[in-house]
Symmetry: C2
Subunit: 387 residues, 2 copies
């Protein structure tokens, strides 16, 4: 992807953007959104204008829209004018069948393939997958050579440390690579691209990172932490339950994002209020009073409570101060404890402190919980932090 | 916002994008990201090159970076070269203090204000807020006139029905407005903009929508469904607990996104496995066997179970088939039941069927639960669907 442009729902703005991109001579331009039935859905009109094709009602597209109105939305009563608007496309364009009610289209203009896709993410993704094996995309992809690309993921390493570890790496190898580094929720994602003949340089860089940061490097094949945790649970034939305070369900939601997660997720308890921690998770009153709800003791008791109450192999917990209020000098905003309870009555925990707003602190806490579970799964027993 | 461009971490690409935008003569260009310490963080260099200013180490910025390394990240050991890179800015630019470790900057070039902000969302947001009252942004904003803008939100109305209800609306008023319609998770967001003298036209449109779709229009002042639900719970002095199956914690996470949500969120049970529904939520075995886990009966029992187990005023539940597998002819993928238990032993539920992928179905289920709770809060008792 060389460039992404986003413009408003105006004919002139969409048209000007298309002209700018066509002038570059890209092989492919994907246009997304603005295929709906309302007056501000102007994408097809803009594409028609810029490519010099008249807009025409496509009978093929109209039949698809009518069928979808009934099949997907059970609405046989939609006005004909609405359906006709969504079936009106640049003349001669290939119609792409609608997963929702909006058909897309594909055409070639001045040597550039233009693919027009709907805005709702799932409709876009499905139409794109179905369009890939068809012309004009199939021919374009057949002419393209895939570069050598490898994604490495590291946990709990600051960018500055990664730089230090790469100091002195073979400059002859480095110059042949395009290396992108992206920091996100305390992970570093290192994307290494090389021309097919320079794969050796990419491998040398990967080996350097693996050698210097062996504990931090948790994925060398592009797998995300979600992939690694799910794979670990499936491979072990084990289940997990969560106990969440400040994240309020975010960890459970993340674990169940994947299809098939019912094989290893039992569920959990969102213990936002302290008496819920006591009553549903059996956290001892003494811990809540003496150590407090934001403590290693409470995190471990919550993890154990979830493991037992939901009869899971693993319990994972999060308790912390997500802010912006509620911080104290001893327990500042950003302080988070993560607990894990595993086989053989094993217990572990880790502790994070990190700046950021409420959403960032919660997101990082979820990442921390997934990584503590990953490390515990690898060890076959609950482990401690920090890495 | 007239245009958003996203380009890769390459000096030429960033420079060319800046030149394209400067050529338009915008009042303001915001540049975000690429302020980190690694070799692919090139934004300051690109801004310096395009504006013809040399890059200079700023002692003011360096002191800020050094202080932040210790205050935020407790890392006094960061190499000097890393800190110096992040403190090297286009000469003469105003330094914007770093919420993380990356300072931003602001300058004026050929009459355009350029503000350079860090990529991590919370750092960006905080720096932007702090930059607004300072020059050069303060002067720019003082010269700008705010347009009349109103955001209306509707629930469970298809775009095609909204169009039908607007049929015959005064064309003299319509032509004075810029109306944007955006569909998201079964809500419609209608943004109405008018020049200050044309506020009457915006009001006429708002009245038309309020008159024709009174049950669907749930917000006339820009408040989101999250705002309305939180406000309703606070105003009533009541609490809520959740019981989630297919959403796995997403509703709880959404309700606790807001600071201060501990005043009205008790927590909940993520009952992903059926025996968890029975054991932690007291869903009768008979319901699970006869009606099934995806049924109105189960949804209501789950809501009641959460309300009781967590001693909350309201219980809200979600159970459904999020897919992609697990669907049957009677209970297809996308079928979701939402239950609500309220004061005075009241019970209610609603039922959705909608196409889409797993993420879309889960997101829409959460929206449906928030709206059923909103309507129940307004009625003071649990209510039924569909709207």
């Amino acid at each position: 992807v060389d460039r992404i442009e986003m413009v408003g729902d105006e004919l002139d703005a969409i048209g000007a953007a298309l002209e700018r991109l066509l002038a570059v001579g890209f092989d492919l331009i994907c246009v997304t959104g603005g295929l709906g039935p309302t007056h501000d859905d102007l994408t097809m009109e803009a594409v028609a204008r810029v490519t010099g094709r008249p807009l025409r009602l496509s009978e093929e597209a109209l039949a698809m829209v009518q069928a979808q109105s009934i099949a997907v939305y059970r609405r046989p009563d939609v006005q004909a004018s609405v359906q006709e608007k969504q079936a009106t496309l640049p003349e001669g364009a290939r119609v792409l069948p609608p997963p929702g009610t909006a058909p897309g289209c594909a055409l070639v203009h001045q040597g550039t393939v233009i693919v027009v896709l709907p805005g709702p993410p799932w409709e876009l993704a499905r139409m794109w997958e179905e369009a890939l094996p068809e012309e004009p995309l199939a021919g374009l992809l057949a002419r393209a050579a895939a570069p050598h690309e490898r994604v490495l993921r590291l946990w709990a390493v600051p960018e500055s440390q990664l730089i230090a570890e790469l100091d002195g790496f073979d400059p002859g190898a480095w110059d042949r690579l395009r290396v992108g580094i992206c920091a996100r929720a305390a992970e570093l994602e290192v994307t290494v691209r090389a021309q097919p003949g320079d794969a050796w340089a990419a491998e040398a860089l990967e080996e350097r990172i693996a050698e210097r940061l062996p504990d931090a490097l948790f994925s060398r094949d592009g797998r995300t932490i979600d992939d690694v945790v799910a794979g670990g649970l499936v491979a072990a034939g084990q289940t997990v339950a969560v106990a969440e305070s400040c994240t309020g369900g975010l960890l459970g939601a993340r674990l169940t994002e994947r299809a098939g997660s019912s094989a290893y997720v039992r569920g959990g308890v969102i213990a936002y209020a302290n008496d819920v921690k006591r009553e549903l998770l059996d956290v001892p009153e003494r811990i809540l009073v003496v150590d407090g709800a934001v403590s290693a003791e409470c995190a471990q008791a919550m993890a154990r409570g979830a493991q037992r109450a939901l009869r899971a192999d693993w319990g994972v917990s999060i308790t912390g101060v997500a802010g912006p209020g509620g911080g104290t000098p001893e327990k500042p905003v950003g302080l988070v404890y993560i607990g894990v309870a595993g086989p053989g009555d094993s217990l572990g925990h880790t502790r994070h402190t990190r700046g950021g707003d409420r959403a960032t602190i919660r997101e990082r806490a979820v990442a921390g919980a997934l990584h503590l579970l990953r490390r515990s799964l690898a060890a076959g027993t609950a482990v401690y932090g920090p890495r």
